[in-house]
Subunit: 426 residues, 2 copies
Amino acid sequence: MNYFEFPNIAEWQGILARPSSAGEDLRPLCEPVFTDVAERGDVAVKEYVERFDRVKLDALQVSDAELAKAESEVSDELKAALSEAYANIERFHAAQRVERVAVTNGPGIDCWQEYRAIERVGLYIPGGSAPLFSTVLMLAIPAKLAGCSEIVLCTPSNSEGIVNPAILYAAKLCGVTRIFKIGGIQAIAAMSVGTVTVPKVSKIFGPGNRYVMAAKQFAQSMGVAIDMPAGPSEVLIIADKSADVRFVASDLLSQAEHGADSQVVLLTTSRELYSSIDAEVERQRRLLSRADIAQKALDNSRVVLVESVERAVNMSNMYAPEHLIICVEEVDRYLPDISNAGSVFIGNYSPESAGDYASGTNHTLPTSGYATAYSGVCLDSFMKRVSFQRLSERGLQSLGKTIVIMAESEQLDAHANAVKIRLGYE
Amino acid sequence: MNYFEFPNIAEWQGILARPSSAGEDLRPLCEPVFTDVAERGDVAVKEYVERFDRVKLDALQVSDAELAKAESEVSDELKAALSEAYANIERFHAAQRVERVAVTNGPGIDCWQEYRAIERVGLYIPGGSAPLFSTVLMLAIPAKLAGCSEIVLCTPSNSEGIVNPAILYAAKLCGVTRIFKIGGIQAIAAMSVGTVTVPKVSKIFGPGNRYVMAAKQFAQSMGVAIDMPAGPSEVLIIADKSADVRFVASDLLSQAEHGADSQVVLLTTSRELYSSIDAEVERQRRLLSRADIAQKALDNSRVVLVESVERAVNMSNMYAPEHLIICVEEVDRYLPDISNAGSVFIGNYSPESAGDYASGTNHTLPTSGYATAYSGVCLDSFMKRVSFQRLSERGLQSLGKTIVIMAESEQLDAHANAVKIRLGYE
């Protein structure tokens, strides 16, 4: 870990700088896959699955028999856990529902906004090292609540053509309508352009490696919406002397175990915490199955001793962390000043893993400083707002002059005429 | 105009197909400008302004003296109109405010969402043929309501270095904090990377030509958020015999005058309207100052005679128009079935121009079928949602087992440890 004491504001940006994510431009890799899938459909998808996911599949879609088998393989204990998490996630996202916003701007001028589900959405769940069934819950529950009529899920199978049973069980539980054993660029391409088997969707959600991310960016440039851009996961912790060093260390490690590129930052006003964190992290790290991965992330981590919680909050806002844990006395004083963060965890008993799994909040959050402009996934991510207006003849009369003057000043005659002809001005 | 009678569902897609927007890939044009502006800052911006906006500027920023001069040049009539439009737009967008969504998921498990303004936003207003001061209102009013602390506006000046006074007046009225005389790719680049003079923003809004659009896409791929992708403007009208042919024609022309690439579609159940629309459009078109532009758009327009309003609504949902005008008997029956549209105008006295200027709804809307997944600009476009959670020890106890089981099933030990260590499981 890297240590800094009382840095000047001028130094903050340098201390908190994320590693440049420039890297290789993967766009040229995506384009031919999208074109090929658009032209040759399922045949092309199967070829790419064979080449990149390293499995030869007869059927891309997961069958009912496979779903039933998966259900029998998931332990009752995990089923109960999923069910509790489901209920909390559902309640938090259902509370976000807004039916209608309506305003009457004078007699006969009624304007309102209604929400409509995005009809077809696609979820991507990585295969890779950990079976992220929790992400299935985080994406499919709000999709179902929103009323999306088609919820497609793509995830790579293993080399025997088998998808992790917990992923399948969670998908069925959440009402995913079709599941396909497709990973990587080809999965995003199939959902973007559609094939005989895989429906074309309007918006794609979910995490993935840099190939999947590049493919989502490519899909976006073709007009398919995506949840958000993504980078490595990150946590920033603000702690004073009220924080327990063991808890703080465990949270830093939760983030560090995600990957060698995970970003881990601790800002503290406590000299004692600042001095003791290293040993406690090391003590806990050695016991982890992913101890090596965690160490790599920790090598780049930053621990900063700061003068005050106010300064720490300012630094955090500059960094705009995906996850912010704040464990300080009189914490409520500081919450209104937190402007840039994906999800905030308050106090000694709110570890990030609570929100990652089960408290109800969403864990699909903006990384890489995107929290300055992006929200995490929420119910609204699966809906769009449609504006409506109904003017009566009287309503148009009262607005008519204003519309005509503005339209004529913008040199748009026909816009003015649409009013004039209705009101008999011509 | 192109006419179709009672087409089969299988033919709908072909009839409603938008011209392919593939065209030239402008990305390679954007990259060097962004790099150059990042490296050489204002000097580079001024060079591009000289080359592409064709004006040599001493100062990029509009001065207070220029703002005062603009104010004196805008007529009282237009000022009154802007003031009425302002009040309606403000009321409609203020009604969209949601302060907080809170849920208690069991004792000691409090989760909530709060809204925070995006601190720095950039608005782009095209120069070009029409001075779109109305778009200043549509973007800056919700930005101010949201509480954005820096609202930057870029717009090209004319060859004398003068910006249209109505644009400047509207910008000042709406609380835009800084205005720059920069157009095209260089404007988007300056706001994306920041220079000594132009602040770096987190999100860029506004229309523009294909260069501006390509630059916004490029900015997005760098991590700057944008309002939405954009294409040519469009209207789809659903009308039965209750619609007045003169009004329908005027609305088709309002859209057609925007540009030769504007999309204009009429779906009607009325044989009489179907037969008479052509002559009425022609009668009104000839009187327009932009008669030639309108004619070009009309050459590609489509008029479809359909069996029922239900079918028309289904067709419209497939097309997902930016603007939908629906003028039919018993219209309320059909509104719930409208799923894909940017903004809906109901009845004989709700011309699109009402929403374009003054009724209160936003006119920055998804084109090109993006209404399947995107909303128009609204208050939320200038804010992000931050999740918060506070668990007590008791709260974490009740969720602890669920979190540990899920984390361990995902092979994320440290996530489980963060709970175990707090609850004394270890």
